[in-house]
């Protein structure tokens, strides 16, 4: 059944191609169904997931190219199940936003489903060949989606994003090929590689050589400073649904691969480079935070904010201890949901006003109370207010990092302060202050389809804010296996 997670959206995309573009209602229902079914399937796997067992569950494998050791293998452990849940939430929320697209909805939904399906592929596959295949496949829909439906400097944004991520992916591919060659197992089977390396790890020198390719290659996707510059521009240019998916989920594929490949396969190599990674992460936190303060465009602000928050994630990974790493994974989840919610708010306003500058708004809590509340809640989550899962996640990162990099933790805590500055200022300028009469006609989110994405995302944030153990009890045993 796990195989259907990527295949439902991908097949639905093929179905959409065959439907005439006039039948917009049908197109929308297909797209929403194709995102809702995998969501339910993910919940089902969450329900069936056996917490008492470590290792991979629901594993299914089909031989593909035996001569090269390639098989289609899918399965869950606590880590990718958490990622999958994140994607299920965000893609379902995003499809409601995507369904509102007025311009060429058929093509947009087609690309959206391809994107959704390939991300599910990344988070379910346990074979390095297919993992990589799905990872790069996400680029196919992204380029036209940003370039055609985007706004403001969209061509530049689309090109920059694609080229940065591809270059990173190529470095990472080289690293994966080196690993495959060195192992001599003639297999891309992730479980097999993991088991083999536990008993006989790779040589220290080789690990040191290989780790940078993985860390930097996938670090580009995680907007590792100074390779982050594609991210704010790309998000500002992208249409709302793409910004949601990209900031919420796609970006998280970078840390996912770093945990799966670097931390798990190359512990010594990663440890060797961990300090450098942590320093870059800390610089990213502060640098992107200051950059966010300077932004007038709300999407740019949130874009820089996401770069800054990915710094916490990378810092958590660089601790290489259980607390820091599980904090990082929890933060990935929390930040993903939060970022998607923020972009959904901005997108909802932008659809009507076609402006995104902080100074253009004011007093929106009177005019559009529902969206304003959602924006405030998401911002509060972002700056780590207790009650949202971001708080506990960031706390765990700090606790994990304190014994290893105390200086960087101080810098990172400073980053929270910076976050508070730009987010509180944004809330003040957008939601409060003098009412701007220009927006008196602004429509609030009213129908179910309009409100559902916000409720879904904020509900998840609150749920796991009060019950972080719901995720941590899956994440921690799985990470324990990787670290042992």
């Amino acid at each position: 059944m796990i195989l259907w997670l990527p295949w439902i959206p991908l097949l639905a995309a093929a179905v959409i191609l065959t439907i005439p573009k006039e039948q917009q209602r049908l197109l929308r229902s297909i797209a929403i169904t194709a995102c809702a079914l995998p969501f339910l399937l993910t919940l089902y796997h969450l329900w069936q997931f056996d917490l008492s067992r470590t290792g991979y569950q629901f594993v299914q494998r089909y031989p593909w190219l035996p001569a090269f050791g390639i098989q289609y293998q899918a399965g869950f452990d606590g880590i990718n199940l958490t990622f999958c849940l994140l994607h299920a939430l965000v893609s379902l929320a995003g499809v409601f936003v995507a369904a509102r697209t007025q311009e060429r909805p058929k093509e947009f939904l087609f690309y959206y489903l391809i994107l959704t399906g390939s991300i599910y592929g990344v988070f379910t596959c346990l074979d390095l060949f297919f993992l990589y295949l799905y990872y790069e496949m996400t680029l196919i829909p992204l380029f036209p989606m940003i370039g055609i439906w985007g706004s403001q400097n969209k061509e530049y944004g689309a090109m920059k994003l694609t080229l940065f991520i591809t270059t990173g992916a190529m470095l990472a591919l080289f690293g994966l090929l080196l690993l495959y060659d060195k192992l001599g197992l003639n297999s891309f089977d992730l479980i097999l590689i993991q088991d083999t390396l536990r008993t006989e790890p790779l040589g220290q020198t080789f690990q040191q050589l290989l780790a940078p390719f993985i860390l930097v290659g996938f670090g580009v996707m995680a907007s590792l400073w100074p390779l982050h510059s594609w991210s704010p521009i790309g998000y500002a240019a992208a249409p709302t649904a793409v910004s949601m998916l990209h900031a919420g989920v796609l970006k998280k594929m970078g840390p996912y691969f770093i945990i799966r490949v670097a931390v798990s396969f190359l512990p010594a190599g990663t440890a060797y480079w961990a300090l450098s990674l942590a320093i870059l992460a800390a610089i990213g936190i502060v640098y992107a935070g200051f950059a966010a303060i300077r932004q007038k465009d709300m999407k740019f602000m949130v874009g820089f904010s996401s770069v800054s928050h990915m710094g916490y994630v990378l810092l958590g990974i660089a601790t290489l201890n259980l607390t820091g790493l599980s904090g990082a994974v929890l933060l990935i989840f929390s930040h993903g949901v939060m970022a998607a919610c923020t972009f959904a708010c901005i997108g909802f306003l932008y659809e009507q006003t076609h402006v995104r500058s902080l100074t253009d708004y004011g007093g929106l809590s009177k005019q559009v109370p529902f969206v304003a509340i959602c924006f405030i809640m998401a911002s509060m989550a972002s700056l780590g207010l207790p009650g949202f899962s971001n708080f506990i996640a960031e706390l765990m990162v700090f606790i994990g990092a304190w014994p290893v990099y105390p200086g960087l933790v101080i810098l990172a805590v400073l980053g929270i302060l910076i976050t508070a500055i730009y987010l509180l200022r944004a809330i003040q300028k957008v939601c409060y202050g003098p009412v701007n009469p220009r927006w008196n006609q602004l429509r609030d989110a009213q129908s179910f389809a309009e409100r559902f994405p916000f409720v879904l995302l904020l509900g998840a944030l609150l749920l796991f804010g009060f019950w972080p153990n719901g995720l941590l009890r899956m994440i921690q045993p799985a990470l324990g296996v990787l670290l042992s």
Binding site: I140, I148, L173
Partner: protein
């Protein structure tokens, strides 16, 4: 009475093509000249001939025998290439139909010359003797001189033909000089005898000079650095069907004889081959991909990108293991399917847009969504984005090279994929992001629509379900060692 050693059945596909060629020629003379239509007698005969020749290959699949006392051999390696040539010729014939319907030139001779080229290609990959190899190569090259200059009212086409002729003659001269050197030292032109002598004295300077000169002749066909200078101008000037045939069949043929000669005749050259080929692969990939960055003409762009692809093919030959040759042959399949799709779309669109400049493709996404979508797919496949064909091709070539310790070359080849993505996406940008002043939709004939659909499905199929195609490649590669 024909001696048994002639083994004439092996030449059945070539015989079919020859007969059809004569038939078409006679029919052409006998029938009065009507104005050119899309279903002219010659078109149909040529198409039928190629299909028949492909059908004639099927019963020969899996056989590995020699004819004419070892002058001509038919093994799965040769059959693999013949099938590839025949299938690409079918696509090229469809392109020619599109091209000549609109260009309204006299087209019958084009198809006849195409058939003639195909015979040359068929014999070329079966040659087991340098003399036969040279004769077949000349048939191919001479036919291509005609095909390149076929649009005789276009100055660009004449110029392309002339450039191809001059550089091609130079390459042939090198090759025949190399062959004569080999003959001088060995006293024979047959592959097995040369192999025997070369293995005994692999350090002989004169022999090595001969090998290098023969290599130059092949390099011209494959368009690898430093024999690539003709490519951009010829690609820009020649009719699109010719360009498609040049970039798929002619390149594949060059590659076929390169592998045949270097692995069955000069296997003793191994260490030198690795150094030479990997250095040239490096230069070829760099030249093709960096050169393509600045192009504004679609055909020129694909000229440069086809040079880049030759570099990746050469990586497989540099490694020289059965696995890497398999990877290269598989790459050739992926390259053929993507490139044919690209050129078929360029033919159809180019005729309607009356231009091959990239700016002419602005707004194609709205004017012809089907063409633009298929071109998007084919371009991404050429760049090597999964899950499309081009990705698998590059992946397995690079994988085989990593195992052979050509790690820096692999890193370079991988990074150049990102570079190539820039110019391919630039093309996509023109189609989708830029607006055109013209908005009328572009009509596509059902036959082209069908073939584009098949090729697009092929791009996805080869990219996702690699196993059967890998099987063909593996089966062919085995016979080289």
């Amino acid at each position: 009475m024909i001696p048994d050693t002639f083994n004439l059945t092996l030449l059945f596909p070539e015989a079919v093509l020859g007969l059809i060629l004569v038939l078409a020629l006679l029919g052409e003379i006998a029938t009065p000249k009507p104005r050119p239509t899309r279903f002219s007698f010659t078109t149909l005969t040529a198409l039928g001939g190629v299909v028949l020749a492909f059908a004639a290959l099927l019963p020969l699949a899996g056989r590995s025998e020699a004819a004419f006392d070892g002058l001509f051999i038919l093994d799965p390696f040769a059959t693999f290439f013949k099938a590839l040539f025949a299938l690409s010729a079918i696509a090229v014939i469809q392109m020619s139909r599109e091209y000549f319907a609109a260009a309204s030139a006299k087209s019958s001779e084009f198809y006849l010359t195409l058939l003639c080229t195909l015979i040359g290609l068929f014999v070329l990959v079966s040659a087991n003797d340098f003399l036969l190899l040279f004769v077949a190569l000349e048939i191919v090259t001479l036919s291509f001189y005609i095909l390149t200059a076929y649009a005789k009212r276009s100055l660009m086409s004449i110029e392309a033909g002339l450039k191809y002729l001059i550089i091609g003659s130079l390459a042939s001269a090198f090759m025949i000089f190399g062959i004569s050197l080999l003959y001088f030292l060995v006293g024979s032109t047959s592959f097995p005898e040369i192999r025997e002598v070369f293995t005994a004295i692999p350090k002989n300077k004169l022999l090595l000079l001969g090998v290098l000169m023969v290599f130059a002749g092949m390099g011209f066909k494959m368009a690898i650095v430093p024999f690539q200078f003709w490519v951009p101008d010829v690609y820009e000037g020649a009719p699109v069907p010719t360009v498609a045939f040049l970039s798929v069949a002619s390149k594949a043929a060059g590659f076929a004889i390169l592998m045949r000669v270097f692995f069955t005749v000069f296997p003793a050259l191994q260490s030198g081959r690795i150094v030479l080929f990997s250095a040239l692969a490096f230069l070829t990939i760099a030249y093709g991909n960096l050169g393509a960055l600045l192009q504004t003409n679609a055909k020129r762009l694909f000229g440069y990108s086809s040079i880049g692809h030759a570099g990746y093919l050469l990586i497989g030959a540099a490694v020289g293991t059965p696995e890497s040759i398999t990877a290269s042959l598989f790459y050739l399949i992926t390259y053929a399917v993507s490139t044919l799709a690209v050129f078929l779309i360029l033919t159809v669109a180019g005729q309607k847009l009356q231009s091959d400049e990239l700016v002419a493709y602005r707004g194609l996404g709205k004017r012809a969504p089907f063409l633009a979508g298929a071109l998007f797919l084919a371009l991404l496949s050429s760049a090597g984005v999964p899950p499309l064909a081009g990705f698998s091709g590059k992946f397995f070539v690079l994988l085989s090279a990593v195992r052979a310790d050509l790690k820096l070359l692999v890193l370079f080849g991988a990074l150049m994929v990102a570079v190539s993505l820039y110019y391919y996406l630039n093309f996509v940008r023109q189609m989708y992001f830029e607006e055109s002043t013209r908005t009328e939709t572009i009509e596509i004939s059902w036959s082209s629509r069908l073939l584009i659909g098949i090729l697009s499905a092929g791009i996805l199929l080869v990219g996702i379900w690699q196993a059967p195609f890998m099987g063909f490649a593996q089966n062919a590669a085995r016979y080289l060692f």
